[in-house]
Structures are given as C-alpha cells and as structure tokens.
C-alpha cells in the first residue's frame, strides 16, 4: 500500500451515483492518473490517497486507491484552490479569492468557527455567511464520516448515503444499531446492514440483529404473497441465516410480539407468525365481510325475472340459468362473489345488475384494481367505473408523509351497492381498505377469475373467500356462444381444465410455432416482431399493441435478455437517438419502458403527445407511450376519466411508457405515459425503470394486449405452471402466439401446482363463525 499526498487537478470521469472517480492528481514529483471512490470530487481538493499501482490494458498505469482522506489545505494558495473547487456551497472562484485575500491562512478556521466575520467581505451578507459556514462544516463532517467508515471497508458512496440521513450523528447511530439503516436508508437491506455490523465488530447475538433478521425473513414471505409464516419454518431459517440458536430467535419473536410488531397465533393446530399489520388486516376483512353479509338489505322491488329476460333479449343473448342465479343472488346477499373465466358472461351479468340497481334508485359504485380494467367496464356498461384507489380517495397526507385513503370506516362511501371487478388482483391490504369503507346495508358484489395468478401483494383473498364457503358465490363455467368463436377463450378454458389446447386452427387467433432450443425460439420471436407480425396484423403497432410475455427474468428467454435483443431490432442505436447506459441496460430515446416500483412523489405534467421536447436527441418519431396498466396517477388516482389535471404526482409499479428525450447535460430522461403524462427522471432514479419490450407474466396481470407472444421452453417448475400459462393466454385479445416446444406447453398444463401462499383468511373466516 502506497500513500500519496496530492491535489486533484483534472476530473476525467466522475459518477455522481456511486462516486467512482478517475482523475489526474498532482504531487510534488509530478502528475499521475488515479481511480477510486470520492464523493463530490472537485478540482483543487487535496487528498491523502492510499492504494496500489495497476496496469490498465487500455489506459496504462494508474494509481488505484482504496481509501482517501482530505488534506486540510494550509497555505493561502492551497486554500484558495480548495475553495474555488466548488466543494463549498456559495463559494466560487471569485469569492474564494476574496476570502483568502481578506483572511489568508486563517480562512478555513474562520469559516468554521466564526462564519459571521465573512460579512466583512462585500457581497457576503449574514445569510450567505451562515450558509458558507454550514456548508463547510457539513463538508468536513462528511469527510470525517467517510474516513471513519472507510477503515471498515464501507465505501464513500455508502457513507454519503448514511450521512444524508443521520447527519453528524451518523457514526453514533450506526454503531448503536446498524439495523435501523434498513428502515432509514433506501437501498440498504438486512444483508448490507449485517455486513456493516460485522465489519464494525458488533455483537452478532444482539437483539437488534436477531429481530432484524426475523423481520427480514418474514417480509420475504410477505413480499412473496404470504400473510404469515409457520413458526417452525421461521425459527429454522432464522437460525441458519443468523447462525444463532433457535431458542434465542424464539425469545426475540416473543419480545417482538409484546412490542406489537408481530402476532403469534395457533392456526389450524400449528404456531404461526404474522406481521401485526397483516394479522389485523385479515381479522378486519373477516369482521367486515360478516358485517356486510349480516346487515339487513332494503328489498328489491324490481321484477328481476322480467328484467333478466329483457336484458337478455337486448343483448341478443339469453342468460343461462347459472347467470340468472348470479344476478338474483347478488340482490339477495350483502356480499356475493361471482367467479368465471373469459367469455363466461361476467360483463353481461354486471350490466344486468347495474340495470336493476339503477331502476331501484340505488347509488352504485363500480371499481376495479387497475385503470385499464375500470376503463373497459365504463365502456361496456356505460356506467362510470373507477379504480378502487380512486373510489376510496387515495391521497398524500402531508401530516403522515404517506399515501392514505380518505374513505375509511369513519368516513364511509355513500353507495347503496358496490361492484368490484378483476378481484383476483386485490390483495389483503386493499380488500381491508375497501371493506372498511362500505356501509352496512350496501350490497357488495365481487367479480373475478379465481384461476388467474393471485394478487401481487400478499393474501389469497378471492380464493380464500370462495373456499371458505361462508360467502355466497357462484362459479360460471359455461362459455357464451359468441365467445366460442375465439380460440383464445376456448383454449384458455381448456388450459384451465387441464386439457391441451387446439392449435393453429385456420383463420383463428391461437397459434403455436414449433421451435427447438432456446436460441431458435428467441430468434423466431425477434423475426415475428420485426417482419412477420407487422405484415399480418397491419392494423397493430408492434410497439404498443404487441407484448412479449415470459415466465422468467433470467436466461436467453428471460425478460432481461429478450429486452436487450428486442431493443436492438425494434429501436436500434442511431445517431439521432440519444442514449444513456445504466448498469447493464441502455436506455434510448424511443424505448418502451416500465416503472418497477411505486413512486408516489414522482411528478408528472400533462403535455401534448406530439410536441417535440428539448434536450439532446429529441425523438423525431411519434411512437409515444401508452401504459398498459393504464399508468400510475391516472391509473390509481384519477381513474378512467381523470384527464383534466395539468400535473400531479405518482408513477406506479407496472406503468409502461416511452422514452421521449434524454438530456445528457442535465442528467435527465423524460418518459411519456399514456401519451400525455410527461415524467422527468433524474439519472440517479433510473433504477426505477426497466425496458418493457418483454415483461414477465406476473407483471402483466390485469393488462390486456392485442397481440401476445410468449416462448415455451423448459422453464423452472415453480414457474412453468398451469395458472401462469392461463394468465398469460388470457392477456391476449386479437391473437396469442406461442413459440417453442409443444411438449413444454403440455407439461405446463399438467403442472397444476399452485405455489403455496400462507394465508389465514379462510381459516379465520371459519373460526369467526365457530366462535359465535
């Protein structure tokens, strides 16, 4: 290890996100190139670097430093150079000159201890003097903190993150409980915090550590869809993860129960652990379902039978007995569940129900979990539908600094009936919020397809309600005559019943191209997108209307690789199109992209679809965006009709748009969602975006596409399941095209294993009734 005291004289490269810096440094013996991590690198700053010489095969000999510390400049000249570097807010080259001119070698001490004396300099008022003093202090603090953490192998980037949150208390806070970083610092999970704790030499048997590890494991299950974990599994896994005895894990779980974080319950004879919030949500859902179920309803005066035959005639189709039953029961029950696959007449039933309710003068709210579904219902029923979030008036509470629902148990909806569609996508938390807000005596009609993949969020709400058999329900199995024309509908039902679909019927909409081997399958997908499909489906836009779906993220046929390959053919590099590399991905103007996490604070403003944007490489082509989850704010908040606001906040997981502009100078990338909502991303936020030429089936839930293209290959058995295939196939409207192995298509249909989700709703519902 060699040490060098030197001044940074030129910055060749500096990455603001991770602080990696390549620079020219000057020491007494001359200049050298150095590489390493320095936050806020700026010319003129003096460092002590320790590192080793390395030979780079392109750039030659470089000094690679693993740690740095800032040398406090001590001569007037050095101080001026340092101040002029821009490291201190409010001080540029000119001010630096003035400060050093006035105070000489004493300038830095003064800035730190008596910043008000800076006002002696003309042009610096008390406010600016205070700002300079504050900024200099912060600079020194960060330098010290970075230096402290460096010795434990925690790099400057991480140190800066911590400093932003804890300020001067950083060292104390991290030493006391590094596991609080998980909650406080974005991007630090249990494993990172644990590494920090280990390097700091902290107690590996501490309560903080064990509790944090238990939480980490529990939330892994929750994020995977469970609302609880059997205690025996949690104990065993925590024991392995933390390398501590199971007894001490158990002790800590009990403490967490007393702290109100966890809930221990005996469920169907075994001990299970819930996060408290999920336990409460399940309990509330049970209570509310029973409340609504038991409430007395205002009887219906309308001649239901007469209406049913009339609405059947109007729609040009007769309702089946089962369908009529669904309508009648919806009127009789406080809560009624209707489940069925595509083409089984769910929409017709909703229409008939709305028709009767309107005739009764009952105010009816219609909602769905996604904006697109809400739009579809509005169009097919003529009754305005919104997202559940919008119905419940989701808003950002300044006081609580988080999103909340305005409609709650204390401020219930004013409807006499509520119909929700696409209920398979409703997780336990959303169902809890919805039920809370529905007044007793209102009819709740829940419509969905229980055979779809379950909700992304935790819980198995629709299936649990059905299997509890305590909530009245009907399962529609008959396919409407018109729907039988569509092989997508017919085959979806085949698949769902475990039968093999009929493929490649002439003139129909369900195809399979047999290809052997992953490379050939990928090549065929590319060729279809590029030349064959555009010819055959001339009315479809291959970027907007076609969606490649895949079960997996990794591998040749995974979304990551297919995205890269599809991007290369559908939106190839061009001098006209600006691009920005981020990690392994390249974002290019014109790319189809997806937001992959909820970001409530991200601002959007309404723009004209065809205005050309400023910035480097504005598009020149008009392929601007349409989101398939119908996009973020408009999706969750504004519902189908919210088309008036000029600006708003919030872009959500699953929103799809197109890159309109990339401004390399200012480090921003503009995405257009739904053709009109413009969102500007700072380059540091690009980890929230992914290319969306190909997306996983899980991410496609609740969306529909004109054309669906999906590879069929030997996917891992966890994913190669019947209900995943069913979900994928039911996304397609105009055509579904499978490419690959028919053997694997059949194997997927044979695999009816549904990934286990631990959910207590069904047992809780039964228990509730038993206890009465």
């Amino acid at each position: 290890m060699e040490e060098k005291i030197c001044t940074l004289t030129e910055i060749i490269y500096h990455n603001k996100e991770n602080c990696f810096t390549v620079g020219v440094f000057m020491e007494e013996e001359g200049e050298f190139t150095g590489t390493g991590y320095i936050p806020n690198a700026a010319r003129g700053r003096r460092f002590k670097l320790s590192g080793v010489w390395k030979e780079h095969n392109v750039y030659g000999r470089q000094f690679s430093f693993s740690s740095y510390s800032e040398e406090t400049p001590d001569t007037g000249e050095a101080i001026e150079l340092f101040l002029a570097s821009g490291a201190i807010k409010g001080v540029g080259r000119k001010t630096a000159q003035l400060i050093v001119g006035a105070f000489g070698d004493d300038a830095l001490r003064l800035m730190e201890e008596e910043p008000q004396r800076l006002t002696q300099i003309s042009g610096i008022g008390p406010k600016k003097a205070a700002m300079i003093g504050e900024s200099f202090r912060a600079h020194k603090e960060l330098a010290e903190i970075a230096l402290y953490f460096q010795q434990f192998g925690i790099n400057a980037r991480a140190a800066m993150k911590l400093y932003k949150v804890y300020g001067r208390e950083t060292i104390a806070a991290v030493n006391e409980n590094p596991y609080q970083l998980i909650d406080d610092v974005f991007g630090i999970g249990f494993k990172s915090a644990d590494r920090i704790a280990f390097r700091l030499g902290l107690d590996m048997n501490s309560k903080y550590r064990i509790k944090s590890g238990v939480n980490y494991l529990l939330w892994q299950y929750v994020n995977d869809g469970s609302t609880y974990v059997p205690q025996s599994i949690l104990l065993e896994q925590a024991g392995v993860l933390l390398d501590v005895p199971m007894e001490s894990v158990e002790e800590n779980i009990i403490e967490m129960v007393f702290e109100g974080v966890l809930r221990l319950e005996l469920l169907e004879g075994r001990k299970v652990v819930f996060p408290e919030a999920y336990y409460m949500a399940e309990q509330n859902v049970c209570k509310n379902l029973i409340r609504l179920e038991r409430a007395s309803l205002k009887p219906i005066q309308t001649d239901v039978e007469g209406r049913l035959s009339a609405s059947g005639r109007r729609a040009g189709l007769a309702l089946s007995e089962n369908q009529k039953y669904a309508v009648r029961e919806s009127m009789k029950n406080g809560v009624f569940v209707i489940t069925g696959g595509p083409g089984t007449g769910k929409t017709t039933i909703i229409n008939a129900i709305i028709n009767i309710l309107e005739n009764e003068g009952i105010e009816t709210g219609v909602a769905a979990p996604t904006g697109r579904a809400a739009k579809r219902i509005s169009e097919t029923t003529g009754h305005e539908a919104s997202t559940i979030h919008r119905m419940l008036e989701y808003y950002y509470s300044e006081n609580d600094e988080r999103m909340k629902f305005r409609r709650t148990g204390q401020n219930q909806l004013e409807y006499g009936a509520v119909i929700v569609d696409e209920a398979s996508m409703i997780d336990i938390m959303l169902m809890n919020a919805l039920l809370d807000a529905i007044p007793s005596g209102a009819r709740l009609i829940i419509v969905g397809d229980a055979d779809q993949l379950p909700s992304v969020g935790a819980g198995n709400v629709l299936r649990d309600m059905l299997s509890s058999e305590l909530i009245s329900s009907v399962r529609l199995t008959e396919i409407f005559r018109q729907a039988k024309e569509s092989m997508i509908v017919v085959n979806a039902h085949c698949i769902n019943n475990g039968e093999y679909p009929e493929l490649n019927k002439h003139g129909r909409d369900f195809f399979m191209l047999s290809r052997r081997g992953e490379r050939l399958i990928a090549d065929t997908i590319l060729e279809l997108c590029l030349s064959r499909l555009p010819k055959y489906y001339a009315d479809c836009d291959m970027l907007r209307d076609l969606q490649v779906l895949t079960p997996v993220r990794k591998g040749t046929l995974g979304s990551i690789n297919l995205n890269a390959e599809l991007q290369a053919v559908l939106n190839p590099p061009s001098e006209r199109l600006a691009e920005k590399a981020f990690g392994d991905k390249i974002f290019r103007v014109g790319d189809k992209v997806m937001q992959i996490k909820n970001n409530y604070g991200l601002e959007w403003r309404r723009g004209e679809a065809r205005t050309s944007m400023g910035g480097v490489g504005s598009t020149g082509d008009e392929r601007v965006g349409v989101g398939f989850r119908d996009g973020g704010a408009a999706d969750l908040l504004d519902g189908a009709e919210g088309e008036t606001e000029a600006e708003g906040e919030g872009v959500f997981n699953g929103d799809v748009g197109f890159i309109r502009a990339i401004d390399l100078e200012n480090g921003t990338l503009t995405v257009v969602f739904d053709d009109v909502r413009f969102v500007e991303y700072d380059f540091s936020q690009l980890d929230e975006l992914e290319l969306a030429y190909a997306v996983t089936v899980h991410k496609s839930q609740g969306s529909e596409f004109q054309l669906v293209l999906m590879p069929m290959y030997a996917f891992p058995p966890m994913l190669a399941t019947r209900n995943l295939l069913y979900t994928a196939v039911t996304r397609g409207k105009k055509a579904v095209i499978l490419v690959g192995s028919e053997y694997h298509l059949r194997a997927m249909i044979d695999n009816d294993h549904i990934k286990e989700r631990y959910s207590g709703l069904c047992s809780h519902l039964k228990e509730f009734l038993l206890n009465e």
Binding site: S514, E518, V552, T556, A714, P716, P717, Y743
Partner: protein
C-alpha cells in the same frame, strides 16, 4: 433425522409426501416431489448450456462451449444435463447411497422434461452399466432404474443388456481427469451377439452425474466403434463449469 429413522419413516409413509431434496412435507401437486423452496433454489438448465456436454454456463458466459469441452474432444455427440450438481447433491446422495429407489420416478420425469421433443431423435435408451457383482451388492443400478422409466415415458426402446461393464472400477470421485480416464480404460464393451442392437442406431445413455465425461466417453467410444450412428447422453446433474464434483 438419522438415516435409520428416515428409512423407517419411508416404510410407514408413502415417499411422495416428502421433498426428495430436503425431506420437508409436501403435497401431491408438487412437480418432481420437490418442495417450493428446493424447486426454486435448484439451478435448472434452462439458460445457457454447453453445446457439447450440456452443463450450465452463466448467462453472461462468453462462448458456446464450457472450458473443459473447449480444450478436449469427446467421443459422444452431445449431452443433456438437467441441473447443476451443487444445488441438488442431496437428491443424488439419497438416490445413490441411501437406497431411495423411488427417487427414480422424479428423476426420470425431470429428464423427460429436459429432453422434450428431442427425445424423438433417438432410437433407444441405455443405462450406464454397473459391474454386475457390484450391482448385486448394492441391489440396484441407479442408471438402470432411471433409464427404464425414461424409456417408458418417451416411448423409446429400452436396452439394458447391450452395454456392459467388464471389470470393477474404482469410484471416480476424488480422481483427476487423467486418473479417471485410466480408471475406465477398456472397462466397457458391447455384449456378445448384441452388435445388431447398436449398428446404425441413435443411442441415448442415461447416467446420474457428469463430471469430466470419462465414463460417458468410454461408453460412447465402445458403442461408436460397434457401429452406432450417434451416441448422446442425459444426466440429472453436471458440475458447474470448471468445477469438479
């Protein structure tokens, strides 16, 4: 749980209710008798694999052959592996050394799914033979158990008396590449009077693990010399690229 207790439990309970890798309780809808956790953690060969031996290469691996196949030629035409050995060693251990013969069903199904339509490219399935006295001692040849089931699933002919092992060989584990080759030199042969079962045929050999390929090369050489049109193999697991099992 001790091996003996496990064995007793196996007698009492139908084996399909335990995960064949970790022994956890499972329900009958699980594919391959694996629990969700093991199925997820196994490294399945559904990404990039070596075009020669079929072992798993990383997605960002440069090239189409693994390091080993890049350097040395093989007597077989092509191999299929279903899993990376490291992730499924418990299954192989239980199957081979703890007498869990019923694992063969799951293993054969995994192989069938790996081959898919490619199964139609073969005329017959052959197990890697065991030295008969050794087989009598163990009670079964694991490759034979899988092979029979795989043949039934794919509808291919099954032939377990054409390829024979003429002498006992030392266990391969722990041996280097040269030692392995030496160990199996002249160990295999086509049984007398069985030349017709080989001549002009496209053959698929079944084994449990692939490491350096010495055994499968030796088998393939004997079969090719006897006039086989092509010899491929399928194994449950292959070592990670560059790693020795």
């Amino acid at each position: 749980m001790g091996a003996l207790t496990r064995k007793l439990l196996d007698l009492v309970f139908p084996p399909s209710i335990y995960c064949i890798s970790c022994g956890n309780l499972i329900d009958e809808t699980r594919v391959y008798s694996l629990c969700d956790k093991c199925a997820r953690e196994f490294k399945w060969a559904n990404g990039k694999t070596c075009e020669k031996c079929g072992r798993i290469l990383g997605d960002d691996y440069n090239g189409t052959l693994c390091g080993e196949c890049g350097q040395s030629a093989h007597a077989y035409e092509k191999g299929y592996a279903c899993l990376e050995y490291g992730s499924c060693r418990e299954v192989i251990h239980g199957f081979k050394y703890l007498g869990r013969m019923y694992y063969a069903e799951s293993i054969a199904q995994i192989m069938h799914d790996r081959l898919a339509e490619a199964a139609s490219e073969f005329d017959a399935v052959l197990p890697t033979p065991m030295y008969k006295p050794k087989e009598r001692k163990r009670g079964y040849n694991q490759a034979d158990l899988i092979g029979g089931l795989l043949a039934a699933k794919t509808g291919l002919d099954y032939d377990n008396d054409t390829l024979v092992r003429r002498r006992n060989t030392a266990p391969m584990s722990g041996l280097g590449k040269e030692a392995r080759e030496e160990n199996v030199r002249d160990a295999f042969a086509v049984a007398e009077g069985k030349a017709d079962a080989v001549r002009g045929k496209r053959l698929l050999i079944v084994d449990d693990i692939y490491t350096t390929g010495s055994t499968l090369d030796a088998c393939a050489k004997v079969l090719t010399d006897a006039g086989a049109k092509s010899v491929c193999f399928i194994v449950l697991a292959a070592g990670a690229s560059g790693a020795n099992v």
